[in-house]
């Protein structure tokens, strides 16, 4: 009898959390529907039509010609930015002198808005994928780089002394001390970089491409294929949600120690 009660309780809890997660989106979609129906505007498509168009447009060869290349561009640019940001950030974080020398240049470069690099890179690199990847990298690298520098600088001096005493240096020191203790900050930088990557992917494709999601959305807009345009926007949103979910999972796994440590020191 108690097992039964448990089961109903669990079911009720499940329903409650489903309501919490899906409640607001449901309300918003209903609102949207109502607004589309009552305004009668050509540009405001109702969600039902968007959903139908979505399947039609994207579950087709477009998936291969537009979606995959975009995702590929996004991930390539993001990965390059991560490697570059961490690779440059670590030495900068470890050396006061390097940092002092590089700081003014970094501050300037960081202040340049990456989209203005699109015309420049179009001239320099041309119209191909590597140019678009360069745009993504140029925006994503900063949060990774700056967070890495801060994380590396904040290495605990007692841990650093521990490594010195036990002769831990070189690659092992980098892996076991520097990167691990900076990892929570590096993860914060990578998280910021992810949303920047999506934005820059779309922008670079809007300006300088003949395929990809950003290009497709602009094309639909120009040919007044409004439901299709909306479906592209929805797809970009879903892509963002999916990527940050994957990121959150990876972070949960890699930084389990950090959550534990924080919980332990809060409990004190």
């Amino acid at each position: 009898m108690s097992a039964e009660a448990d089961a109903t309780a669990t079911a009720r809890k499940g329903a409650a959390s489903a309501l919490r997660v899906l409640g607001l989106p449901a309300v918003l979609i209903a609102l949207w529907w109502w607004a589309a129906a009552s305004s009668g505007s050509f540009f405001l498509t109702d969600p039902g039509t968007i959903a139908a168009t979505f399947a039609e447009v994207w579950i087709s060869e477009r998936f291969l010609t537009d979606v995959l290349p975009s995702v590929g561009l996004l991930l390539t640019g993001y990965a390059l930015a991560a490697v570059l940001g961490i690779g440059v950030g670590v030495p900068l974080g470890m050396s006061t002198r390097l940092r002092a020398a590089a700081e003014p240049v970094l501050e300037f470069l960081r202040a340049v808005p990456p989209p203005v690099l699109v015309p420049l890179l179009m001239l320099l690199v041309g119209l191909d994928t590597s140019m678009r990847a360069a745009v993504v990298v140029s925006g994503c690298v900063w949060p990774v780089l700056l967070n890495t520098v801060e994380g590396v600088r904040a290495v605990d001096p007692v841990l650093a002394d521990t490594c010195r005493v036990y002769g831990i240096r070189g690659r092992r020191r980098l892996g076991v001390l520097v990167l691990r203790s900076a990892s929570p900050q590096i993860a914060a930088g990578l998280r910021q970089a992810l949303s920047i990557a999506i934005i820059l992917m779309v922008i670079s494709e809007m300006f300088a491409s003949s395929s990809g999601l950003g290009y497709a959305v602009v094309q639909f807009q120009r040919s007044f294929a409004i439901p299709e345009m909306w479906s592209g926007i929805v797809l970009l949103g879903l892509l963002g949600v999916a990527l940050s979910a994957v990121f959150a999972r990876a972070e949960r796994h890699a930084l389990a120690w950090h959550r534990g440590l924080r919980a332990a020191s809060r409990g004190e």
Partner: protein, 303 residues
């Protein structure tokens, strides 16, 4: 084997000079177990950092086997006062103990043997898979000790290593250290502010004065080599030695000059810098921003 000669350390930063250690000279023989006692803030941690080669003295020298110490020597282990912060939170207890052995390139089987032995010895055989932050302060301290003994050092430096453990564990660890010291014939320099502990553990007790720090006295502990928590501590000779060390520390606190052998350099005419001689409880570093010399000495524990 370990020679400390005329050691002086002045911290400077933000226009303020702190003379942590004025003039220390002493010598440890091979295989000796010496305890270093002194009031809080008198420079014990500073001394240990200079001896371990983690910090450069302002003047004077430290030599190990006749060679000057300029960086951490390869066969020396240190248990830091901030034991909690000296453990890698992303490694398990086993991982922490094993890490220096990996750097030593010991084969896997040997590493396992040493780690198991060390964890067993500190009573943490069951906790190998846990992370440091899942443990109490006393357990963390024992992990740091296990890491040091698994390393099989020739010289072991310990900075108030039993501060966070309960009385029973403390007694056990004291006996453990003596046991290990005999078994591996290490040279041990053990810093404490507990007089009883110093007398119980050491063959020698080096008493430091309050700041400006010099060696106040060097007491030979002529208790029998076989020590026992009950009989040794209740022996009349133990009480005498304890009283002697206690008196020396009191004299030191009240600004009396050293009565021991190493009485060099209590230059009375010299201005006293900005040191805080009347701040015995302030066990805090006034650390600067991010230089390598930042050594906050607040008692460790999980952050």
């Amino acid at each position: 084997m370990l020679d400390v000669d005329g050691l002086r350390k002045t911290y400077s930063g933000r226009g303020r000079e702190v003379e942590a250690v004025r003039d220390l000279t002493f010598r440890l023989g091979e295989g000796e177990l010496a305890c270093l006692v002194g009031p809080s803030g008198c420079g014990k941690t500073t001394l240990l950092k200079c001896v371990s080669g983690l910090m450069r003295p302002t003047a004077g020298t430290v030599a190990l086997d006749g060679r000057p110490v300029t960086g951490p020597p390869p066969d020396m282990a240190v248990v830091f006062q901030e034991y909690g912060r000296s453990l890698f939170p992303w490694l398990t207890v086993r991982g922490n103990v094993e890490l220096p052995l990996k750097e030593k390139r010991l084969p896997k089987a040997r590493r396992r043997e040493l780690v198991d032995g060390a964890l067993e010895a500190v009573g943490l055989a069951h906790a190998g898979a846990r992370h440091p932050w899942e443990l109490s302060g006393g357990m963390q301290q024992r992990v740091a000790i296990a890491r040091a003994i698994a390393y099989e050092p020739r010289v072991l430096l310990m900075d108030e290593p039993f501060a966070a453990v309960d009385a029973q564990t403390r007694a056990d660890l004291e006996d453990l250290i003596r046991g290990l010291w005999k078994r591996f014939s290490m040279t041990v320099l053990f810093v404490t502010h507990d007089i009883d502990e110093a007398v119980y553990l050491g063959q020698r007790v080096i008493v430091l004065s309050a700041s400006p720090t010099v060696v106040q006295d060097d007491v030979r502990v002529d208790l029998p080599d076989e020590r026992d928590q009950l009989t040794t501590r209740s022996a009349p000779r133990f009480a005498e030695l304890r009283a002697q060390v206690y008196r020396e520390i009191q004299t030191a606190k009240n600004g009396g000059g050293p009565s021991g052998a190493d009485g060099a350099g209590t230059g009375g005419a010299e201005a006293d810098g900005a040191a805080d001689p009347d701040d015995p409880e302030a066990d805090k570093g006034t650390g600067g921003a991010d230089g390598p010399e930042r050594t906050p000495t607040t008692t460790g524990g999980p952050r």
